[in-house]
């Protein structure tokens, strides 16, 4: 039972207003089942509540209610900003993309057809805005000098323990726009080279080449970062 209490306690901490009643009803009225059963039901309830709230917010946004727009922005902005940061070279540029993206979201929100998750729809708009930004800045392609030195293989868990999210993000941002965009589309959006080529109006070969170069640069950046971190530890 301590496990059950812990699980419920964790869930209760994540509780949101309005779900408490359902939570306690579920807790005291069901009477049967394992803690996982309660957890799954509770998560389901939370998700339903979240979807209902999003649905209400969408309706409010369609009607032009500014409060609904603000609340929807507040719910989605952190995750969307993280996406924009990956496609941008700086925080300011990411904020620009986020701004443009949310303006489009509110402008075309009446076209959302509830066929998929709303967050996925917003994410697509953010990615499209990022690509549009990239297309507009296409003439500013940077030429990267790639060092082909072989890098030692280290486990991801070990690297992640040594490198923070911000450092990884900074490495991505330091890639040239073409490499960064191809890398993002391939790794995070799951696109194939043919799709990337169509989106960016480049050949598949260019897409593959850009991805390879991006990987090499990132690998080297990770290696350098780990090395400098280990040197710091030794000095201490």
């Amino acid at each position: 039972m301590p496990g059950k209490k812990r699980t419920l306690g964790c869930l209760y901490k994540k509780n949101v207003n309005g779900v408490k009643e359902s939570f306690f009803r579920l807790l005291f009225c069901s009477g049967k089942g394992s803690p996982n059963h309660f957890a799954l039901h509770y998560i389901k309830l939370l998700r339903q509540k979240f979807l209902e709230e999003i649905k209400q917010l969408i309706e409010g946004c369609i009607n032009g209610d500014r409060q609904s727009q603000n609340r929807l922005y507040g719910r989605l902005a952190p995750n969307m900003f993280a996406i924009c940061l990956r496609y941008a070279s700086s925080r300011e540029e990411a904020e620009e993309i986020l701004q443009e993206g949310f303006i489009k979201v509110f402008e075309f929100i009446h076209q959302y057809k509830n066929t998929g998750p709303f967050e996925g729809w917003v994410r697509k708009i953010m990615v499209n805005c990022s690509l549009q930004k990239y297309r507009n800045k296409r003439h500013m392609h940077a030429v990267a000098d790639i060092d082909t030195t072989k890098v030692e293989q280290i486990g991801n868990e070990e690297i992640l323990s040594q490198l923070g999210t911000k450092e990884l993000l900074k490495m991505v941002q330091q890639l040239s726009p073409a490499y960064r965009t191809v890398f993002n589309l391939y790794v995070f959006e799951g696109m194939k080279h043919r799709e990337i080529a169509a989106h960016l109006n480049i050949s598949e070969g260019t897409s593959k080449s850009n991805l390879s170069d991006a990987r090499t640069i990132l690998q080297k950046a990770v290696h350098n970062s780990i090395q400098s971190a280990s040197q710091n530890v030794k000095e201490i």
């Binding site: 727009q69 990411a94 690297i159 490198l163 995070f188 043919r194 390879s212 990132l218």
Partner: protein, 531 residues
């Protein structure tokens, strides 16, 4: 090395998967401001229909105002003409009374019968001929003549003025009195002049008065008598040619208000006056009936020839080449039907408006289309045309990948518009034929935009239709030029032939690979009704 690279992918995917960061507050503030602007724009869009309604109402109001002004002006003309008629009638009455007075005086002196008057005339001729040297009374009469006839150059010399007074027609009840002025001179020349007042500014003739001036060298009584009878006869035939015009009143003011008992200049027949009045009334009636047709409606059909003017807008893919799009298209059918209402603003200037319905079908040759991402990121086959592009929702391949291609067998793009033209026309009327060059603008509103495509499948062909053409605007404007030829079949019906040219002022689409302007050339045939 390859494993290392994939390892890098996983490293970043896992490391940044749950990343979340709070943007600065300025982002929402900027979004808030932008939404305010968009709201203003959306409000203006919301009221765009209202604007159109206001514009139509304004045009209608202007038309009604012009119509009212036109009608009131015509009414004034009619009232003036009626007044003139009444003045003529009054003048006729007063003239009749003057004549009666004159005749009474003459009757006292000369007796009532023509024979007596002729004998009196002979007597007077004899007396006057005998006393040629005594010209006092004659000179007075001569001065009177000169006063009445400023343009008349009477020959100086030995003038004899004869007052021929009454002539009774034997119809029993109706008494026609005629006055004849005869001026005799020593020259053997007989002339009859139709007196016209010509003061330079007033061009309208005063031919309603006839002055018979007779210059006669003959001194014999028989000859004089014959001449008098001849004059009377000529006068009777000549009076039938009298025309009474609008300045009749003025003329009478100048010439008749102070009648000379011994000298009557005018030969006016009451019957002729009545006849002329009838003619005037008939004319007025005709004018009135003509003036009640300020509006006319025309129903027409026009087979059109459509050309497209393409410019690069936002080409993204290789199939977005405008030359390729233009060469791939053929205009199959285009026609316009409509109803126009014409308003005669003035005699020659006409305002014309109405409703037209036009249909354009453009065929596309077989071509390769590619799967492209739409605005939502979904990949579908995209077909391009000059009007815009469309995604084939009814795909043969359920999940095409970006860049996949298929070959279409045939495609057709259908566009239907309702147009509201506004034309200014200048009309030249030549008998039953009238010609009217016109210029104007037309607002066209999209009612239907469709792309039909036939694709090959394993068991034959399959047709798909897309009713949504991306980028196609809901309205566009055209400039109009036409030259109308109208032939009147009757007072209310006319047939019209109007070659016309419509040039695209604005493009029919936006945010598409190519911007397209439609130019249309047509020959409209129609039937016109006058209200």
């Amino acid at each position: 090395m390859s494993e290392d690279l994939h390892n890098i992918d996983d490293l970043f995917r896992e490391g940044l998967k749950n990343n979340a960061d709070q943007p600065s507050e300025s982002v929402w503030e900027n979004i808030d401001k932008s939404l305010d602007k968009k709201k203003v724009i959306s409000i203006s869009k919301k009221y765009s229909k209202l604007k159109w309604a206001v514009a139509v109402l304004l045009l209608f109001s202007i038309g009604m105002a012009m119509y009212s002004v036109y009608v009131s002006r015509q009414n004034k003309d009619l009232v003036r003409q009626k007044n003139q008629n009444s003045i003529i009638e009054k003048s006729e009455t007063s003239l009749g009374s003057d004549k009666e007075k004159t005749n009474n005086t003459a009757e006292k002196k000369q007796g009532p019968t023509p024979k007596d008057s002729v004998s009196n005339e002979k007597q007077q001729q004899d007396n006057i001929a005998a006393s040629n040297s005594n010209n006092d009374s004659l000179s007075r009469n001569k001065e009177n003549i000169k006063e009445k006839i400023p343009g008349e150059n009477n020959t100086p010399g030995n003038l004899i003025v004869e007052n021929h007074t009454s002539h009774v027609r034997g119809n029993g009840s109706e008494l026609h009195k005629q006055n004849q002025l005869t001026v005799k001179n020593n020259n053997h020349l007989t002339t009859r002049q139709n007196y016209q007042e010509n003061d330079g500014s007033d061009k309208e003739n005063l031919s309603n008065a006839t002055l018979n001036v007779q210059k006669n060298t003959s001194s014999g009584n028989d000859e004089v008598e014959k001449q008098i009878e001849k004059n009377i006869h000529e006068k009777e035939t000549y009076v039938s040619g009298i025309e009474i015009n609008n300045d009749f009143e003025k003329y009478f003011k100048n010439l008749v208000i102070e009648p000379q008992p011994s000298l009557q200049i005018f030969d006016i027949d009451n019957a002729e006056l009545q006849k002329n009045n009838t003619v005037l009334k008939t004319k007025t009636h005709n004018e009135k009936s003509r003036l009640t047709f300020p509006l006319s409606a025309t129903l027409f059909f026009s087979p059109d020839f459509v050309t497209t003017n393409l410019k690069d807008d936002h080409p993204r893919f290789r199939e977005d080449n405008r030359h390729e799009i233009k060469e791939n298209e053929r205009t199959q059918l285009s026609s316009t039907v409509g109803a126009l209402v014409s308003f005669n603003a003035t005699k020659n200037w006409i305002l014309e408006s109405g409703v037209t319905f036009s249909k354009n079908i453009i065929d596309m040759d077989p071509k390769t289309i590619y799967a492209r991402p739409d605005d939502d990121g979904n990949i579908n086959y995209r077909i391009n045309c000059s009007a815009g592009y469309s995604f084939l929702s009814d795909n043969l391949n359920n999940s095409p990948r970006s860049g996949d291609s298929i070959k279409t067998l045939s495609s057709a793009n259908t566009l239907q518009y309702i147009g509201i033209p506004f034309l200014v026309k200048y009309k030249l009327i030549r008998g039953k034929l009238s010609l009217g060059p016109a210029i104007g603008v037309s607002a066209n509103f999209l009612t239907k935009g469709k792309i039909e495509t036939t694709l090959p499948v394993s068991n034959g062909t399959k047709s798909t239709s897309s009713g949504k053409i991306e980028g196609l605007k809901s309205s566009y404007f055209q400039g109009l030029m036409s030259f109308g030829i109208e032939y009147s079949l009757s007072k209310t019906f006319a047939i019209t032939f109007t070659p016309s040219a419509r040039f695209g002022l604005t493009s029919i689409n936006n945010n598409t690979p190519v911007k397209t302007k439609l130019n249309t050339y047509g020959l409209a045939a129609g039937l016109s009704f006058k209200f």
